[in-house]
Symmetry: C2
Subunit: 113 residues, 2 copies
DNA sequence: TTGATACTTAAGTGAATGCTTCAGTATCAG
DNA sequence: CTGATACTGAAGCATTCACTTAAGTATCAA
């Protein structure tokens, strides 16, 4: 099992490619087979399979094979840590901006006195 | 100016590296100079400057030089699209799960009648 | 003016990425 | 049994990445 930091590495890396994001986008609308994922992409099936491996390694996508078709599904649990990481950094920064704004306002009032 | 997809590429790519995430984390607590960013990292200053270039290219970080020190700040506006992209995919998938659950519940009720 | 500080830039290197082609192996449909 | 379908896996290749070293250039402090 990957550690937290390595998971974030893997998830952000997986999402840094437009083809992989398109695959995730399609999977967010429902499960799909490998060829269904490949269909809208200007790329060989082999290429798609390699992107799929990256997505699976990151935990974003799971798949299971029944007969000759592999069906892929999104795992929203893998999205959450990355989403949360972003939210935390953004809100930390915004809170800091707020405090700075309040400080500047207070200073301004003092000047006016 | 980068297009939306290219921005997402750049932001997710920038965040896929632990050193760069650590820099963003530090900057979320307040502005910092290049050497302050470098200090906690086991890497030459040159390496840090290159990571900084990636962060600036993604729009996540802005910087300006005064005298001989460059001060870097986080840009929360650049975080938002990535955060939103993740939220949208996750919620789309979760809504789908809910609908599926409701359908299965309904089917089960029919079975029991 | 001299030395320390704070970057900056270029060049090099090994590893990882994002593809491709080609040659398979199962599985299903008739 | 025989194609067609749905992948699978290995090899190759150009590009990008994540560093390093080395040699700068400004700026500030005394």
């Amino acid at each position: 099992m990957l550690q937290y930091q390595e998971k974030l590495d893997a998830v952000f890396h997986a999402l840094a490619d437009p083809a992989r994001r398109q695959m995730v986008e399609q999977l967010s609308r429902g499960p799909a087979s490998v060829s269904q994922l490949a269909e809208p992409l200007a790329m060989t099936l082999s290429g798609v399979v390699q992107h799929l491996a990256v997505l699976e390694a990151s935990g974003l996508v799971r798949s299971q094979k029944v007969g000759r078709t592999r069906t892929c599904t999104l795992d929203h649990n893998a999205i959450h840590p990355a989403e949360q990481w972003l939210t935390q950094r953004r809100t930390a920064w915004e809170k800091r901006l707020d405090r700075l704004g309040a400080y500047l306002d207070a200073t301004k009032e003092e000047d006016e006195q």
